[in-house]
Structure formats: C-alpha cells, structure tokens
Amino acid sequence: METLDFRFDSKPVPRAADPALCGVVGSGNLEILVKSGIEPEACRVRIKTSARGFGETWRAVLDSFATSHPAGGTVIAINDMGATPAVVTLRLAQALAEYQGGGL
C-alpha cells in the first residue's frame, strides 16, 4: 500500500451535501469521500492505494480534475484498489456532483 498527499489550486465549489461518498473499495474500484476543508481556493487529496508506484499518474489525473472542475474548499480522501485513471476520473466527477447536491 502507498499513501499519497496532494494539494491543487482550484476554484471554490459550492457545497450542498457534506460529506459526500462515492464508490466502493472493490477490485479495480475505489471510494472517494469529499469533505469541506479550510482553504477555499485549494483541493487537498489523500490517497491510500494498493498499487504502488503510480504517484505521477495520480498527480496528473487529479491535476486535470482540479483544473477542469471547481473543487476548491474540499478535502478528498480516497481508498483505492487498483482503479484505472478512467474509473478514477469518473468517480471524482460523481463524488463532486454528489457534494454539490447530487443533481446531474
């Protein structure tokens, strides 16, 4: 297992459902917990993952997420069982939507 910590600048996101949970820690899947943090213009992420050595891939996936979505003011905790970037990207979008009130 590997623990990774990141911080990204991101535009503030309005919160409606705090905290919000998405996904399950199953094979090739992950769970994402979005809570409110204290920095309105930043998104902090802590990942615990079963797959070692993919720190740079995580950084790229999360950076792209924090750039393309307003996610500032959140603290995101992730438990991962080897999800691919495609699954991570999808779950992040779902979790953030949930955090904003669940509306699609």
């Binding site: 905290p19 949970l21 399950v24 820690v25 769970e31 917990l33 079963s50 905790a77 438990n79």
Partner: protein, 300 residues
C-alpha cells in the same frame, strides 16, 4: 425494451448503500458511524491493504412502511463482505441497541463469505458476538430478518448467522451454506464438488433450493423493490415467538430427518425429486412465481 427489465434494479448488482436507499422509506435513512466519522480497519493497514471508511458495513436507523426499523447492510464488493473487528463491532452494537430500543425489526442485509481471515481471531470473535447478539435481540422480541441476494451470498459464519435470524428472505441469485463451494472443492476434491459448475453450485446452495427445502421464508425476484415488499409483507404477519426448548428440539428433529433422507444425494435435482417435484430439471428455469406455486403444490 422489455418494460419489466427496464424497471428492475438488481439487488445482486447493487452496492450496500444502493440496496438500503431502495429498501427503506425514502428519506428515512440515518446512518450511525458514517464514513466521515469512522475509521478503516487497523488490521488491514498492518497488512498493507487499503481499508474502507465504513469497514464494509453500513448500520442505520430507518423506516419500512412508516414503522421504525434498524438496518445492517454488508458490502459484498469490499473483501467479499468478510467480517472484521470493526465491521463486526458495528453489527453487534446495532443488534444490542435493538434489544434495548425495540424497533419493529432489524433488517440484516447479508452479503458475506464469513470471517475476514486477515483479522484472524478478531474476526472469529466478531462472528460469535454477532450470533449471540442476534439471539439476544430476538429474545427481546425484536425480529431480525436476513435479506440474502448479494454476489457473496451468506457463507461461513454468516451462513450460521443467517439461520439464527427470525427468517430469511432470499432471491434466486442468493446463496446460503456453511462452507463455500471453492472451500469444499479445495478440501475434498473436484469429484466431491465442482465449484466451477455454477449451475450445480446454485442447485445446492442457491435461493430456489433453500426455499424448496424450507430454509427460507420467502423467495423474491432479484429486485430491490421486491425485497422491500417481501420484507414488509413478512413483518406484517410476524410476531417473534418466545424461545422454548420444545421449539429447539423440533428444529433439531427436522434437521436429523433431513440428514437421514438426503445425506447420500449429490445434487439438488435428487433432493427435489425426493420432495415430490415431478420435473426437477425444469426447476432452474422456472420464474419466481412459478416456483412459489410449485412449492405450494408439493406434498407436505
């Protein structure tokens, strides 16, 4: 599009949280120890494995048909729904609280292969505490209803727990047994039991077989709404019996009779024939309603 298929929300496929969302009255779900307030298993962390925030089980208050109930839902996708220390403690706490607060029922959404082997003795102790807590809740007059229809079924210690509940509501996809098919094959060889023959596995452990054998009170479709209406209907006509030695003795006798009648059989097909089913080979393809009608027509 077949309308009945479009409307179906598979229990088998759903996560524990999705099952609860569809099972309870809308808006009544109130989680105890939600993910943001609980901790993943320290045992798994020691073994360098990622945990889940809720340790694979959701415990909550809720309502079913406006009656207050407690619910416990295992997440089969996380470590096969296996029972670890925190997972078990959450279940036991909920059952003990039920014995005190006396809700209309505890709905126990079982989806588990049994003990979480990574947690060894802590997991084993947790299972035995769950067994005791189920019986304590029932002794306090609170029915505990097992709902079995997830991908992991109810095996190992959780198979025993299921049988300690007041009743079991099961779907055809659900399975109930002690040792899992792979365990039997590993221990006794493929000649004894071919765990890859999935049709055989279901003929021996699956929901239809358990229902025909009288191990389960209700057989429902693999549909969250069907589990909801099944549980509601069952509770409406149920009052928890006062425990008695005579009742236990009768149960023991039933099991002994079963052993004497079927111990030499290798397949559910043989058992069904012995039960009086005219065309046993047709059973796996019958739909739920046809099977229920078949059972009601069997000699008793």
């Amino acid at each position: 599009m077949i309308a009945s298929l479009a409307a179906r929300h598979s229990w088998f496929e759903a996560t524990a949280r999705a099952r609860l969302a569809g099972l309870l009255d809308p808006g009544s779900f109130s989680e105890i120890l939600p993910p943001a307030e609980s901790n993943p298993s320290p045992h798994l962390a020691l073994l360098d494995l990622p945990g889940a925030f809720d340790d694979g089980v959701v415990v909550c208050y809720g309502q079913l048909g406006k009656r207050p109930i407690f619910a416990i839902a295992q997440e089969g996708q996380f470590m096969g729904g296996a029972v670890g220390e925190i997972h078990g403690a959450k279940i036991v706490g909920m059952l003990r609280r039920a014995a005190q607060e006396k809700p209309a029922a505890v709905l126990f959404l079982i989806d588990s292969g049994g003990v979480r082997l990574h947690e060894a003795n802590a997991g084993l102790i947790a299972i035995s505490e769950i067994m005791r807590a189920v019986l304590d809740a029932r002794a306090a007059g609170v029915p505990v209803i097992a709902l079995v229809g997830g991908s992991c079924g109810a095996f190992g210690g959780m198979g025993i727990v299921a049988k300690l509940c007041s009743a079991i509501v099961i779907s055809e996809e659900g399975r109930l047994a002690l040792s899992g098919p792979e365990v039997i094959e590993t221990v006794a060889g493929v000649e004894e039991f071919d765990s890859k023959d999935r049709a055989l596995v279901w003929r021996v452990t699956g929901g239809k077989h358990r229902y025909l054998m009288g191990d389960c009170a209700m057989l429902v479709e693999d549909d969250i709404a069907a589990f909801r209406s099944g549980a509601t209907e069952f509770l409406a006509g149920w009052s928890e019996p006062v425990p008695s030695v005579a009742h236990l003795r009768a149960g023991q006798q039933t099991l002994e009779n079963r052993l004497a009648a079927y111990a030499s059989y290798r397949d559910g097909l043989q058992v069904w024939a012995a039960l009086g089913v005219a065309e046993p080979e047709s059973v796996p393809l019958l739909d739920r309603d046809a099977l229920v009608a078949l059972k009601e027509g069997l000699p008793t």
